[in-house]
């Protein structure tokens, strides 16, 4: 069973062999390293760029405008904040030219905390990404979604950003999250597609014959059904929400967990349906809490489902501080933790309207 990072690598392989991907590039993305997280090992079209994020995004746009199919990477989303103008431009290509051009860029950048990455390897990017009109934004919480969302991103004629959560990159697929065609045994897969330590000049991957699965952009997934409250979340917070839901389930509380998977365009129908059913909602993410994408969800819920809510809608998100501090206590105080999610759920369901 593939890890999330292996799933990305498999999708990139399918992309370059069958879906026309021409360039997979970024800092240390090509040989010998194949990406700081191993995500691009063994890929035919992977290449290293200069250390220049603006050049990476700019070149991706140029390639896309010339009919290539680039998949560009920013090594950590923490280093994408000097490219917001270029990302905005990419999102505006079609609209600004009144449909003369489209801009089929795929941009990947790992996000979030949980690996003790300190101030500059812990940033989130969901708030920024959802402020980019013209982009589609996807964020997987498990290997199969990463695989299927990336394939959909590759064939989409618009700019699509994939935000894999760093802390989940080594996460293994659940039993029903298999990529069709991957070997049953995880060690077998590693042997086939993980580059060996040491000299790699003569190593070639042996690709399993995985089949295409297109997880549709714009479709949420209900990870757990429940009637008492809804958690709307994505990425790294999905497993946390599942744990919290399991924890309160022992207290007889049934929490529904909605994994958005696509942040934009949003599966509003799915969110609405769930909240209509449960009448209580917790929005959960780890980005800083002021001008946060979760606040968009709360706003729409307040505007449209005000009378369906039995408790005030709640956002649990990251602290409004300049970064995630290195020390354990600081990271824990900065971003939502299991206890906090459980406490928020208890409060939500016990709230008397």
């Amino acid at each position: 069973m593939a890890t999330l990072v292996q799933a990305i690598r498999l999708a990139l392989h399918v992309g370059e062999e069958r879906l026309g991907v021409t360039d997979i590039f970024g800092e240390d993305v090509g040989p010998p390293l194949g990406g700081v997280f191993t995500q691009s090992q063994g890929l035919r079209t992977a290449w290293n760029t200069p250390l220049d994020e603006r050049g990476i995004v700019g070149t991706a746009i140029g390639l896309a405008l010339a009919g290539q199919r680039p998949v560009a990477e920013i090594q950590f989303c923490d280093y994408a904040f000097n490219t917001i103008d270029l990302l905005k431009l990419a999102g505006g290509v079609s609209w600004s030219s009144a449909g003369d051009y489209n801009c089929p860029v795929v941009l990947m950048t790992p996000v979030g905390s949980g690996i003790r990455g300190s101030i500059y390897h812990s940033h989130s990017f969901d708030a920024q990404a959802t402020r980019l009109p013209g982009w589609k934004i996807v964020m997987p919480s498990n290997p199969l979604d990463a695989y299927g969302l990336l394939l959909s991103a590759i064939v989409d004629p618009n700019p699509v950003m994939l935000l894999p959560p760093k802390a989940l990159l080594r996460a293994k697929a659940g039993p029903d999250e298999r990529i069709p065609g991957e070997p049953d045994d995880e060690r077998a897969l590693a042997k086939m597609i993980d580059a060996p330590l040491g000299d790699r000049t003569r190593w070639r991957p042996e690709w399993p014959d995985v089949r295409e699965v297109f997880v549709p952009i714009g479709k949420a997934s209900v990870k757990r059904a429940g009637r008492d409250a809804t958690v709307v979340t994505y990425g790294r917070m999905v497993p946390l929400a599942m744990q919290a839901a399991a924890s309160v389930a022992s207290e007889g509380v049934e929490v529904e967990v909605v994994d958005l998977r696509t942040l934009h365009p949003l599966d509003w129908d799915a969110v609405k349906a769930s909240v209509k059913k449960t009448s209580r909602v917790l929005v959960l993410n780890e980005d800083t809490e002021i001008t946060n994408f979760g606040e968009h969800l709360v706003r729409r819920l307040s505007e449209e489902l005000f009378y369906d809510l039995y408790a005030p809608p709640r956002l649990l998100a990251g602290a409004h501080v300049p970064g995630v501090g290195l020390a354990d206590n600081l990271e824990r105080a900065s971003v939502p933790q299991l206890e906090g999610v459980v406490a928020a759920l208890r409060e939500l369901v016990s709230h008397q309207p």
Partner: protein
């Protein structure tokens, strides 16, 4: 301090051009000038909110438009232009009326559907990528189309053009780095049209480079500094530069001295500045001296073109504005237009 004293030897590049070509260039330059003057008028009369354009750059930009290997897809040249490129577009065959449409932000504006400022082109069928207002971002994108050119194999190159002040943005340096990677040199012609300043800030205050083009030298790039006010120098030097980039599949940095004849934009008044060299006057002097065109014919061309554009502007004024309900149109594309074209491998048009 940036100066643009040309250091191209006078030999080859000053060779006279055939009379026929000079006449053709002259006609395009006059059309471009008349177009810009019409745009300025429209703006002053309230038929458009903002003007920015290229009066003073017609000689060089006409040469560029004529020399482009024009078509769609990576076998042809890609153009990353800026807001002073009207003469290039006209030389490529653009309809000046479309520029009036963009000035008047009509729904019929083919470059942006009334969304963008005048002289912000987008012509997919000719590989003219969308012009956007932020200075110098085109230089960050150029390596991408140049990679596609190189991959396509043919003679197609990437041309990226911007002003002198804009070279202070990091994106100009990014382009130098990306097009000169050892073993991966790209067929990219970087052009700096140097009018000695930004909006109001003189280059001499802000730029310590003797020639901006010298910045290419550390990267082993071929460079040249030329006088863009002289059509013959401009044409020859550009032909030579393009030939190098097309044939060697390597980058080059070309700095071109140009004038700015109506100031920066409508924000600074858009009034005629008579102190700077006017490339049309210079060319017309040659045409007269060489007895290629009589004064009267040239005056007549200008009067006629002015009149035609005036009439066209009146018609454009009646064309409908985009409706508010179209606001969300084209936020997303439903087709991969650029890829379809490239994979059809289709061509010159």
């Amino acid at each position: 301090m940036t100066t643009t004293t040309p250091h191209e030897p006078p030999g080859e590049s000053a060779l006279a051009l055939p009379a026929e070509l000079l006449v053709r260039m002259h006609e395009n330059m006059v059309r471009a000038r008349c177009l810009e003057e019409r745009l300025i008028r429209m703006n002053k009369q309230g038929d458009g909110y903002f003007w920015i354009g290229g009066p003073g750059e017609e000689a060089f930009n006409t040469a560029l438009g004529l020399l482009v290997h024009k078509g769609q897809g990576p076998a042809y040249d890609y153009l990353h232009l800026h807001y002073r490129s009207s003469a290039t577009l006209l030389a490529m065959g653009a309809d000046p009326v479309d520029s009036l449409r963009q000035m008047k932000n009509t729904a019929s504006d083919p470059y942006s559907g009334g969304r963008n400022f005048c002289n912000h082109y987008s012509v997919r069928k000719w590989n003219v990528v969308p012009v956007s207002s932020p200075i110098e971002v085109q230089f960050s994108m150029a390596p991408g189309t140049a990679i596609a050119n190189k991959r396509a194999g043919g003679r197609g190159i990437t041309i990226v053009q911007g002003g002198d002040a804009g070279t202070a943005e990091g994106d100009f340096a990014s382009c130098l780095i990306w097009v000169s990677r050892p073993g991966n040199e790209l067929p990219c012609l970087m052009i700096v049209t140097n009018n000695q300043g930004g909006i109001s800030t003189p280059a001499s205050e802000q730029h310590g480079e003797k020639h901006i083009a010298d910045r290419g030298k550390a990267f082993g790039m071929r460079t040249a500094v030329i006088d863009g006010n002289d059509v013959e120098t401009a044409y020859r030097a550009l032909e030579k530069a393009m030939d190098y980039v097309r044939t060697e599949r390597k980058p080059m940095l070309l700095e071109v001295a140009v004038s700015r004849l109506y100031g920066h934009s409508s924000a600074s008044g858009a009034n005629l500045i008579t102190e700077e060299a006017d490339c049309i006057t210079l060319l017309e002097k040659k045409l007269e001296e060489r007895k290629i065109l009589p004064r009267a014919a040239m005056d007549e061309l200008r009067a006629r073109t002015t009149q035609e554009l005036l009439e066209a502007s009146k018609r454009v004024r009646e064309e409908p504005q985009p409706d508010g309900s179209t606001l969300y149109d084209h936020v997303f594309s439903d087709r991969d237009l650029v890829h379809d074209a490239a994979s059809r491998g289709n061509g010159a048009s």
